[in-house]
Chain length 361, copies 4
């Protein structure tokens, strides 16, 4: 039952890389929202393949069709279903996947789980393509949050061993937010962008791949959102972020670094500044006791290198139960970090919207 | 609705630090399990305060009473409720908390959320004491998992800046597991234990506190457990782990380090060894595509330094809306890492059991 | 996982007839409600045994203890747990129930489900006593609804073959509501009350039992509450009503009678009366398309005769797998209808509150 | 969030009468089921309009397209989405519905709920057409249940005031089940079928409509399925049955009649017959304490007369807030009972399958 998530709004996701279509049903959407379809398309395009030499050349427009819950340009309040047809599929690339289990992919774990009945073509339901409907839903969540003043912004914190400057956790200047929103490859220190891209191109030339880290901030969060214990904001966001294929770590505020601070260093002192309550540092990333404290919510996600690489790898032939060698064919991203930014933002938007609606019910 | 979690078994948690009792209702437990009450008590004791000079001297036995769902020594299949009475409470310590917001605590975020109606004594529902019923439930989950051969083990990976050796992700020797299970302060490299304890004592002497990192492994996991997307094992475990107060980061396998590897380094090659399918490395921490691959599931949690410290801190007086100074009274842990190990294991046990039951339904 | 219900507020129920205690955890309660404990006690007393010669003489005060989520007379927003200790238990009455399956009771179906591990004393978790915590929770739900003007009232529509006048579906006079709320044995036509009571006493004298029908109305419901399809008001209420032991039928408005009307007779015409929109009849019981239309919500519940009777009955000895005779010992209600009224109202209050909060989120 | 239902398998339904498509996402389906598409089509055809002069002449093939979760003729275990395109739509019929609220329809209650943003054409999401995807899902549930020996059968128990013979609750002959499954208009007493049809034709000629009662049985149920309290089989089935538009009453076994029996009459005595445990009567409809007892589960549903009728009716003009007259145009069913049988069976199949999987996890 892994396809459904949400308390106030329920998202039911479906689809495979090489099936008829992927899509999502969004049940419980607020009524009467005039959807900004151009914004949704723009978000989808950020995730779509084929946009530059840094990503897979698979050509998919990722055009969506809304089947329900939308009438005279507004949400009706009834479940909204959107689908994205698969077009540029080349199933022949995947014939040998019936036998050889690709390292780093869910071929083996999925085969055991699904007893061999899974659609293995292009990783099937495990494909990163399943994030297309998530970005669709995230764009709607972002639009609703924006109407409440809440903004989400992210940047590439690292690619392989090239690092961008991290966010100043306690201070976000409007100019930085604007800059990041306008960049196709968003980094704070623009001087390192070319090095990062070069690291990706080098991986591509080597038939290899690289990973990276995404840093994301949720700005203008009111205090008092989230719930203690099982529905802490950290729990809600981490649940969704770890749904995104390739995410292997999530940390909030200072994250793992906070474990080497002392209490007096880690605690964020409260202060009244210009009549407003805030903290003077933000090591806790805007969340205390699972609940927002009015400071920016900031988190980082570790993205593993793309599992699909052109280099020969050791693996097993599961049908004949023997060790073998495998070279993965097909068109792959040497690094998915640039395309994963809108997915991370979408997951964050969906999670924060649910916490927001729960706390304001 | 933050108090309820679970799909196959639902856990409903309740209680405050200085209220009548804390407890948990466990609905959907398998029928006919002969509960090992001694084991439950042992696990509760690992978490309980007062056991050494490293932790708070607050004396709480954490004795539990089972109210339902248990008959003639076995689970009946009906909801099992256990409660833990609060005894050694000193509410007077908390009188000034009506005004001054403790940095690092949920006083402010909780006050906004609960409009000032929250039980603020000893952090109320936000207290780490809420983890006592979680450990109770986790002990039962552990017992059920053990009957299927699955074991959970953890150690202190770091305290402040003192680091233990990390797990060898792909190889767990039985002797190591036994050793860690027998140590009151479990570390792999026993030579650093005293340094860690000294770091805690130093923090205590300084009226300060320190944090650390816990590393945990789930051993003998069958392959094929977990679900893609929203109910990945990472999502399920992270959801529960981030429920535990003080956890600010969670990573699986190599975690954030995997982001600086290349694909050929990060992918875990499959191999048939002694007739069994395994991977020769375990950078993905036993989870691929959200599903177990039969290797040990390994994760790390960043624990922040205890928020309660005896040093004077800047903060605000929320009633009079002015900046002020605060010195937190009361008996506190200079470091909660030693007491948090059984809590992390409990959260892991509860999460893995749910994934296991879902996959075997 | 049958012990948990609710979307906006989650109720987790537990307990057995002859165990330590029954109780309920209410997670997600609105913050800052000053609980009317006297009202809760009054509702509990309506359900409690021992109040007259019409019901079981088992003496239980059903005194509740609130363990959490309640501070300085108000709800805190954290999970509220209340327990009711079992006191006047006589387990010895139930010794032969290990063998002989009582007709009409869950002894056999429960034994199969729970593989013989269920607490069989006094029906265990299947006992009507499990409705005590439901009435506790319902009293809180009623108080919250009352603060929004919504009232719930019910009466005994029939006992065995003695029938009261039914509600005028479209018109509820305030005086009737007041009268029913004040009667210990609420009927519209007070002249038949004694006949009903006599039918109960006759059943008691005959070591037999009788059933009846309860009719319940939810007044001052705003229009627009409820959801189409899976969360229709009918679905929500019926789900909860059929949880109550002994309920075997639920119908809304005209219910089964509507099936023999024609469309022009069944449709409730809209009209503007005194500037307000209403319907001139209310055959649909205030619900159209699963959503309230502003008219009173009216439903009926069929209550079966108490399964426990003193007459000898045919049954099986499940241990020795042979046919046998059984005479049920113990103290039983010759008719549970009088005690079930507050339970039906509690279920209705809990269901309507959830629909209300969902629609106003 | 009314569009999602299910614990072991989650169903997410969407669509409007005159939108692009209706559909359903089924998440958590068992793996490797070879779907019987012909059977699904046959079930869809039973519900589809245009099949006889008794139902609406709107021509809809209700052809479905499976978009995901289905590969090489088998379910993959990933979410399965099926859609049904709307084709023969005539939106012009509904222009006056912006103003005049049709009695018996959700025009008014839905308008209040959705603040006027609902797709009002053909009742939109409230249309009986939403049951088409339910029948699709029910056909799959039926196939899974059939593989475990469980069968579902129903008949028209009444149309208006014409009554069929009711089921013998405790005895189902195979020949009867076969007969009912083969009849297009299934009745036990075939001699009354023509009277029923004539009652429908008379209603049609009079521009009026009629309702009826459906009786349904679930055969070969093993004992021990279902859960006490919130997830009783009655609760689960009633929840789904009351989702079906036009259902206003649900009763199990003797239903409302049981309320006028005495305990000795109502209790179903257990007996060992031919080495098997059964009850000699089945007044409880195969469910005791919310759990199956191995006898047939039998229930009845009251279906109200079609709300859409050609007769002039009193109602309100909501835009101009005045009383008005309305004549509903368009093509309508004079009686939906014949088409609702497969819908009731589908709801029953979905509910029982969930209880079955929960009890066997």
């Amino acid at each position: 039952m892994s396809g459904v998530w949400g308390k106030q709004i329920e998202y039911s996701i479906f689809g495979e890389s090489h099936g008829e279509a992927l899509g999502i049903v969004i049940s419980g959407l607020p009524v009467g929202i005039k959807l900004d379809l151009d914004f949704i398309r723009k978000e989808m395009k950020r995730r779509a393949p084929g946009s530059s030499d840094l990503v897979t050349p698979r050509k998919e427009e990722d055009a969506f069709e809304i089947l329900s819950g939308y009438f005279e340009e507004h949400t009706t309040g009834a479940p909204l279903c959107a689908i994205i047809r698969n077009k540029n599929t080349r199933s022949s690339d995947y014939n040998n996947l019936r036998y050889a289990m690709r390292p780093g992919h869910a071929d083996y774990s999925g085969r055991v789980k699904y007893k061999g009945f899974n659609d293995f073509r292009g990783s099937g339901h495990f494909s990163g393509r399943i994030t297309a409907p998530l970005v669709f839903a995230g764009a709607i969540a972002k639009q609703i949050l924006a109407s409440k003043g809440i903004k989400i912004v992210s940047h590439v914190l690292s690619i392989h061993n090239i690092k961008d400057t991290a966010f100043d956790l306690a201070n976000f200047e409007e100019s930085l937010v604007k800059k990041l929103s306008s960049l196709a490859f968003p980094v704070i220190d623009e001087s390192i962008a070319e090095d990062m891209k070069q690291a990706i191109r080098t991986a591509k030339d080597n038939k290899n791949s690289v990973g990276g880290v995404v840093e994301c901030a949720i700005l203008n969060m009111p205090a008092g959102i989230g719930d203690p214990f099982f529905d802490s904001i950290e729990s809600t966001l981490a649940h969704l972020l770890f749904s995104v294929p390739a995410v292997k770590g999530v940390e909030f505020g200072k994250g793992f670094e906070i474990s080497s601070l002392t209490g007096i260093e880690a605690n964020d002192p409260y202060a009244i500044v210009d009549g407003e309550i805030r903290t003077t540092s933000n090591n806790n990333g805007g969340i205390i006791g699972g609940i927002s404290n009015g400071m920016p919510i900031v988190f980082k996600c570790a993205i593993k290198p793309t599992a699909s690489i052109g280099l020969e790898q050791d693996t097993i032939d599961i049908v004949n139960m023997k060790n073998t060698k495998l070279t993965v064919e097909g068109r792959h991203d040497p690094c998915i970090v640039p395309r994963v930014l809108p997915v991370i933002e979408a997951a964050a938007a969906i999670g924060i919207l649910d916490s927001y609606l729960t706390s304001n019910k």
